[in-house]
């Protein structure tokens, strides 16, 4: 149990530390560093506690159930390989924290830095110890995202932003590929458990999907480890602060890719495809990185390409996959992390103290900073592979594998030569680093005068260089056991013990090393002058920059192609869009129903009613007339629209739907009034629009007529085909059977709305409320069109006199009708549960009653006599409906469960008293409020524009005075 919790602590402690660091003050340099250091050291202590168990070859696990239905658990496992890697991450992390404390300036916001650093450590550790491959990808992507934050830490610097973005795009794209490959792997193996996947190598390699899985997997690993051709993001990420580079781009993030290659080599490796893809890419990267590194002038650029090259070396070893190769790969992961971190830190010190990283300006620094210089020289020698240093040992092992391992392919035959070739360049660029920066004449014209840094800034470098020496001289005692433990956990417990010695005799690898050192030195001294004078990058090749290709692609993908697509398919104009929607819907429906739409052999044709046909002849004429007149004769069109609406309403009544008929009629009234109010604000259209007679407009109209006719015909056919089929028993029968017993009402439609499907109705009245408030809000800032702003012509001049007594008789009737309509509304409401009616139609009725008062008298008179607060009605309605629903909770029922019974009231008799009735009161109040609010908001525009007009007229007069 303790072990399990310790493993969980190991992962979550850095995240907790990250949150704590984020809360610190911006200037808390020391506190943030102490906190981060303490967290990382606590992690190292946990690792020390776990070591005895792991050393015996055990795998420690900790499982937290997360989404069991998806077989997704927080499943952590730590074995020898993971242990070594986590130790490396945390160990270098501690040194980076110490270094960063002195590197970052007083003005940098430190909590952010340490927060991301710790979060990154947590993500990295999580990735290393994940026992579930999906979890592994999650942590993997987390490292990509947080590295984006870290690279872009100096976000005022455009290079940092670009570098961060590029790193994120490349590594996150790789992450998506990795996710796809892990999902496929999980499907092949039948489990997302890492152990199951690793032990199912045979099954995976024999599966037809092996190659796609391998390709996706390798893209993921190669992007992260900056393998050719995805290497270009790493040099651009050098815009990060140097501690970040030392941590991410030497020891941790870029090593995640090679970690994955080594980890999954038992599952995916051992095939020809694996060897060619992995070793081939690795060797290509090794050579390209080494060659480019020699020609870089920027100190960190040289180190970045050198890192790429070394990662290529590790990748090539993982591709070879023999026992010796895996041991060498793990060994080199550790060695490279140590010497490259120290070199990055040394480069950072040089940059920090001299103000430049350009090797053409730096020179003779050994005199000014002897200690740092010595340390950097030793580390660079380790990078070059000089004997008695750790880099030499793993490079020797690589040479040995390249020379001795054979599978008979051409790539295998070429390996020793390629390795030696790359090594020559490695020696040359290491030598260049040493010679140009530390030797030669004293530097002139540097931004700052270099001197030794504060001792504590140098301590991490000292410790790392010391490690290089100790491991290089006593490999068997220091790293040997841990290395074998790690190799055993990857390759299985039967792996023979692999002893590492400094001296193997005068053998092939030794000869290769010597050739590299001699030729490399010669190469540098021969080319030193030309390199310094040349461009940033190798001759000829510097013109082909992967970065530029990436930027072109990015531009094409994110800017050019979308715009082209937009130009081709998009339009900012509504008319073509609507046409596209209609045509597409027609196509979609036709495609679905193609050949499915068949008539029955003998449709059961019912009686034909002449009256009904005549009614619809009128209705159709109205509809066509409305369409015909809508452009130039809006009022006529509106009247004809009303005609079509009335016929629709009669149809509902005809076919046993009294509720619909009532509602449709009432809504028809309100809609018509609404549109009439809107007409006032539209531009006058007396003369024909000139363009209407031109041929483009004609063509458009004819095309639209065709589209409309075909669509209308299609809809009519579907309707006919469905209507002539017998009705299959459906859920409607259930509603009919249970409306009275369950809902306590005999009007089934009303019971469905307020009881069975009350939640839908609740949503619907909410929509109504939202619309009403939107209408109100839109109209508050409304400014009418210029020519609608004045008084309408009908109200001016002589006509105005005639209008004085306009509608006198009707208005008296309307005012007298007010109480009658209120009673009517109440009647409709109360009978709703049993007979046609209900909250909605009753509400619209009351709204119409109020509306008639507005029509009968002027607005001011109405509002001084009746207090209408539509927003309160709406709020009250929502509260009552919602409250009724919530009330059901009090009795332990789900939201909106209704209760029904009948009450015997004196004089009135039996009255339905279902809670649904209460709900219906809410609907009623809301409908009244919403309808009135909308109508009044539009009607008030006349008042407002009159007020604005008065203001405008008043203004010039006051100015004149």
């Amino acid at each position: 149990m303790l072990q399990q919790n310790l493993i969980l602590f190991l992962i979550f402690l850095p995240f907790a530390g990250a949150i704590a660091a984020a809360t610190l003050s911006v200037h808390a340099h020391n506190a943030a560093a102490w906190l981060s250091g303490a967290v990382l050291i606590a992690g190292l202590m946990i690792l020390a506690v776990l070591y005895p168990e792991i050393e015996q070859g055990r795998v420690l696990r900790s499982v937290v159930t997360w989404v069991p239905s998806l077989r997704l658990n927080l499943n952590f496992r730590i074995d020898g390989f993971a242990w070594l890697f986590v130790t490396l991450v945390l160990g270098i992390g501690v040194l980076v924290v110490i270094y960063a404390r002195y590197y970052l300036s007083k003005n940098d916001p430190v909590p952010r830095f340490y927060c991301f650093l710790l979060a990154f450590t947590g993500a990295m550790v999580g990735m290393l110890v994940s026992g579930n491959i999906i979890m592994l990808v999650v942590f993997w992507e987390l490292t990509s995202v947080i590295s984006f934050m870290l690279i872009g830490y100096w976000n005022h610097n455009p290079a940092a932003r670009d570098g961060a973005r590029m790193a994120l795009i490349v590594t996150a794209t790789g992450g998506i590929c990795l996710l796809a490959s892990m999902l496929l792997l999980g499907q092949i193996v039948g489990s997302y458990d890492l152990d199951r996947v690793l032990s199912s190598g045979e099954m995976i390699r024999a599966h037809p999907l092996y190659l796609p899985v391998l390709a996706l997997f390798l893209i993921g690993a190669f992007t992260k480890s900056a393998q050719f051709p995805f290497h270009f993001w790493l040099p651009n990420a050098m815009a990060a602060p140097t501690p970040v580079s030392a941590f991410l781009h030497s020891a941790t993030m870029v090593k995640a890719g090679v970690f994955l290659l080594v980890r999954f080599s038992p599952a995916l490796g051992g095939t020809e495809a694996w060897f060619f893809a992995v070793t081939g890419t690795g060797m290509a990267t090794l050579i390209i990185g080494a060659v480019i590194a020699l020609f870089r002038h920027d100190l960190k650029g040289l180190l970045a390409y050198s890192t790429i090259s070394h990662l290529g070396l590790i990748t090539a070893l993982a591709g070879i996959g023999s026992t010796g190769a895996i041991v060498a790969a793990i060994f080199h992961i550790a060695n490279h992390a140590v010497f490259k971190a120290s070199l990055f830190m040394a480069a950072g010190i040089i940059d920090h103290e001299s103000g430049t990283r350009d090797m053409r300006r730096l020179s003779g620094l050994i005199r000014l900073m002897p200690v740092t210089g010595t340390l950097a020289i030793v580390a660079a020698a380790a990078m070059a592979g000089v004997p008695l240093l750790n880099g030499f040992l793993s490079k020797e092992m690589f040479f040995a594998e390249a020379a001795s391992w054979h599978n008979g392919s051409w790539l295998d035959d070429a390996l020793p030569y390629l390795a030696t070739f790359a090594s020559i360049f490695a020696v040359a660029y290491s030598l260049r680093f040493i010679m140009t920066v530390f030797f030669g004449p004293a530097p002139t014209d540097l931004p700052k005068t270099p001197h030794e840094p504060t001792p504590w800034m140098r301590r991490p470098v000292e410790l790392l260089v010391l490690t290089c020496l100790v491991v290089g001289i006593l490999p068997g005692v220091t790293l040997g056991p841990v290395l074998n433990m790690a190799a055993r956990s990857v390759l299985g417990p039967d792996t023979p013990y692999f002893s590492i010695a400094v001296w193997h005799g005068f053998n092939t690898p030794m000869i290769m090393s010597l050739i590299a050192i001699v030729l490399g030195s010669g190469l540098y001294f021969l080319l030193a002058k030309q390199i310094a004078a040349g461009p940033e990058g190798p001759p000829f090749l510097h013109r082909i920059r992967a970065q530029r290709i990436f930027e072109r692609l990015l531009l094409a993908f994110s800017w050019k192609w979308p715009r082209d697509l937009h130009r081709l398919f998009g339009t900012e104009r509504l008319q073509p869009q609507l046409r596209l929607i209609v045509v597409l819907s027609f196509a979609a429906v036709s495609l679905t129903l193609w050949r499915g739409l068949t008539l029955l052999q003998k449709p059961d044709l019912p009686s034909f009613d002449l009256a009904f046909a005549i009614m619809w002849a009128i209705g159709c004429a109205c509809a066509i007339g409305a369409a015909w007149q809508a452009k130039y004769h809006r009022f006529a069109s509106l009247a004809l629209l009303g005609g079509a609406g009335v016929v629709t309403c009669l149809t509902f009544a005809w076919f046993s739907a009294p509720d619909l008929a009532v509602t449709q009629l009432l809504v028809e009234v309100v809609t018509t009034v609404l549109l009439l109010l809107g007409l006032r604000w539209l531009p006058k259209r007396r003369e024909e629009i000139a363009a209407d007679k031109l041929s483009p407009a004609r063509t458009r109209r004819i095309a639209d007529l065709v589209i409309a006719s075909i669509s209308g015909f299609g809809i009519a056919s579907i309707a006919y085909v469905v209507m002539t089929r017998p009705l299959i028993p459906n859920i409607g029968d259930w509603f009919l059977r249970n409306a009275y017993y369950e809902g306590g009402g005999t009007n089934v439609v009303n019971v469905i709305l307020v009881d069975f499907r009350a939640f839908d109705t609740f949503g619907e009245i909410s929509v109504l409320a939202v619309v009403a408030i939107t209408v109100y809000a839109l109209l508050r800032r409304f400014r009418p069109g210029a020519e609608s702003a004045g008084m309408p012509a009908e109200q001016l001049g002589e006509a105005a006199e005639a209008l004085k007594d306009y509608l006198v008789v009707p208005s008296v009737i309307m005012q007298w009708m007010f109480p009658a309509m209120i009673v009517m509304s109440a009647y409709l409401f109360f009978r709703g549960h049993d007979l046609p009616g209900g909250g909605f139609s009753a509400g619209v009725t009351l709204a119409i009653a109020l509306l008639l008062q507005y029509l009968a008298a002027n607005v001011r008179w109405v509002e001084s006599h009746i207090v209408i607060l539509p927003i309160r009605w709406m709020g009250l309605g929502l509260l009552i409906s919602g409250g009724t629903g919530i009330g059901a909770w009090l009795f332990g029922y789900p939201f909106l469960t209704a209760h029904a019974q009948y009450l015997n009231l004196p004089l009135i008799g039996k009255v339905p008293a279902a809670t649904a009735l209460l709900f219906d009161i809410g609907v009623y109040a809301l409908v009244v409020g919403a309808t009135v609010l909308m109508l009044i908001a539009i009607a008030h525009q006349s008042l407002r524009s009159a007020r604005l007009r008065a203001q405008d007229e008043a203004l010039p007069e006051t100015e004149a005075e």
Binding site: L578, R579, C620, A623, T651, T671, I707, S711
Partner: protein
């Protein structure tokens, strides 16, 4: 009856769609109203046409579902009527607001370039 109603639905829909594709906002709003009649009738007709049997039953006793019109499409259409009223109102307001802001009643917010 069925042939009359389906023809009517077709004509309402065709008029509505034709108007929907027209350039003036008022045409579009009338088109939407016509289209909503067509759609409401279409949904309603999915419950088949029954004359003289509204889904209002006696209190208690055995209920024979075949003796009544299908209440489900009716409930759906009732909701649809309310929502189409709301959208019409909203569209009307957007229409007159856009008219005030752009100075034209063209749906694109600007007159077509000649």
């Amino acid at each position: 009856m069925e042939i009359v109603l389906s023809t009517a639905i077709g004509i309402l829909a065709a008029s509505g769609i034709w108007l929907l594709l027209r350039p003036r906002t008022f045409q579009v709003i009338v088109g939407l109203c016509l289209l909503s009649y067509a759609v409401n009738l279409f949904i309603f007709s999915m419950g088949r046409l029954t004359v003289g049997a509204p889904p209002i039953m006696a209190k208690g006793g055995f209920v024979n579902p075949t003796a009544y019109a299908d209440p489900l499409p009716q409930a759906l259409v009732l909701t649809a009527i309310v929502i189409s009223f709301a959208t019409t109102a909203l569209f009307l307001v957007v229409m007159i607001a856009s008219r005030g802001m752009t100075g034209t009643d063209h749906v694109d917010g600007q007159e077509r370039e000649q």
